[in-house]
């Protein structure tokens, strides 16, 4: 089997694995929709108070809410994904078995996570978005081109999301317990991705900083591409830079960690 086909199979496995939990997916869609409604009403009040806040008009702000709900599961904002499992494998030592496999550890988990992200986009992204569009006046693009441009930004965002969580998981080689690291990642992720509030509403230097950090690639970037508020190519360059940097860091930590592994017999 060619390497390309191997990773495609792993990705398909990641997709199918999440597709199995239909009730859980439906429940997730319900929750995202409920939160979408609550946020949409608060944003309506906020933009009513100050129209064109952060450069968005009201329809754009509402669109941002529903893009956020659609990205919630895709980018793993506010829950945990593969990293919990990887940390567990590191803690128990099962990771030694993984390292003996003739596949690349990082690419293996990346493929599986991309399969998951694709499922979450279809399973938990589409329905809340449609629901939002039915109940609120959204600023959705008419032609297919901005949607395609947004999809590319979503894919790159998913790559950055994976790269961050892979680094976090590898810390378990040293910490053995990943709970603290996961919690910190989760907190910074929710805050700096723009899940609480669009980053362009953040005041002053905090806003500038937030837009430079990798988390803005997860939600703010795809949303701005969809809204026509950001140049797609510049956005891709930003996302790709962070993806390359973080994946490289992950790889370096991986090789350091692999050297550290002591396989106990028995």
């Amino acid at each position: 089997m060619g390497t390309g086909r191997l990773y495609a199979a792993v990705a398909a496995g990641g997709f199918r694995r999440y597709a199995t939990y239909r009730v859980a997916t439906a429940a997730g869609v319900f929750t995202n929709t409920v939160f979408g409604f609550i946020l949409a009403y608060t944003y309506l009040a906020l933009w009513h108070e100050k129209p064109h806040l952060g450069g968005y008009d009201q329809a754009q702000a509402l669109t941002y809410v529903w893009v956020g709900q659609a990205m919630f599961a895709v980018m793993v904002l506010g829950s945990v994904g593969f990293e919990e499992e990887l940390i567990e494998r590191i803690r128990t030592g099962d990771i030694a078995v993984d390292l003996y496999r003739p596949v690349d550890l990082q690419l293996w988990w990346l493929a599986a996570d991309m399969g998951r992200a694709l499922f979450q986009l279809l399973g938990r992204g589409v329905v809340p978005m449609v629901c939002g569009a039915l109940f609120f006046d959204l600023a959705l693009p008419g032609g297919p081109l901005p949607w395609l441009a947004c999809l590319v930004a979503v894919a790159l965002g998913a790559l950055v999301s994976f790269a961050i969580r892979y680094i976090v998981a590898l810390w378990a080689f040293w910490l053995l317990d990943g709970a603290g690291a996961m919690q910190i990642t989760w907190l910074t992720g929710v805050f700096f991705s723009g899940m609480l509030l669009p980053l362009n509403v953040f005041p002053g230097a905090l806003g500038d900083l937030a837009r430079l950090l990798p988390w803005s690639a997860l939600l703010q970037a795809p949303a701005d591409v969809l809204l026509g508020e950001a140049d797609p190519w510049a956005t891709y360059a930003f996302q790709l830079t962070w993806a390359v940097v973080l994946l490289t860091v992950g790889r370096l930590i991986q090789s350091a960690a692999t050297r550290k592994v002591v396989v106990q017999g028995g």
């Binding site: 939990y21 009730v23 859980a24 439906a26 429940a27 997730g28 319900f30 929750t31 409920v34 939160f35 409604f37 609550i38 009403y41 608060t42 309506l44 009040a45 906020l46 108070e49 100050k50 806040l53 709970a179 603290g180 919690q183 910190i184 989760w186 907190l187 929710v190 805050f191 609480l196 509030l197 509403v201 953040f202 005041p203």
Partner: protein
Amino acid sequence: MAGVGPEDPFDAYGVGDRVRDGLRAYRMIAAMWIRSTMAYRASFAMTTFGNFAATSFDFVAILLMFSQVDELGGFSLPEIALLYGTSAVAFGLADLMIGSMDRLGRRVRDGTLDTLLVRPVPVLAQVAADKFALRRLGRVTQGLFVLGYALTTLDIAWTPVKALMIPLMVCGGGLIFAAVFVGGAAFQFVAQDASEVQNAFTYGGATLLQYPPALFAKDLLRGVTFVLPLAFVNWVPGLYVLGRPYPLDLPSWTAFAPPLVGVACCALAGLVWRAGLRSYRSTGS
């Protein structure tokens, strides 16, 4: 509870006894989990702080909003802080007491619920106290901070009645949220892996109540007032304290209803729980 005799003279083991047994079992299981938590004090301190920080974020979001505007839906920051604080503390208390209820779906799926059924202790008490997490005090503390900020900055003429309203909201609200937790868990006897639906009502409800009701559509308000009475956690009594009318026409005495609504909700949730438990079929695995 001890002074109340059995309701049916022929049934020596009445509702009162069951409740007393349940509470006793709950206390013992919770104490066990607290002891196990305290074996790792540093870890406890860190996770409690994490809980505190995590729950602070939605208030940080509100602060960020107020860095751009002076009021939201006609409400000032201290007024919203009052709604936020009461909602957060009420929810935090319910979450602390029985927040583990959302694990029920997992127990139904993997069959470990069966081990709880064979013990001579009420199942509800066992599930409620399961993995009792003292770190959830972080959420309560965070809510108390915001509530404290609200109470010190609010510009209202305090009367004894209004002051009494604050603990009333927190306790009554806690009961209402507790009922939602129990009802949601009962739903998982049927749905099994739908714990996220429960999140929509628990976390979603708490988030909703952090904002003034005037922000939301009338139908949504009717839903959370008359169907799932979350509005009684803090909206109805809170607006009374703030001297503002509730967007729906409610008589003013309803501001004092939270404890009653809370008890009624808990009784209803208890019935739903029993129905759910009766419908339970083990996976057999």
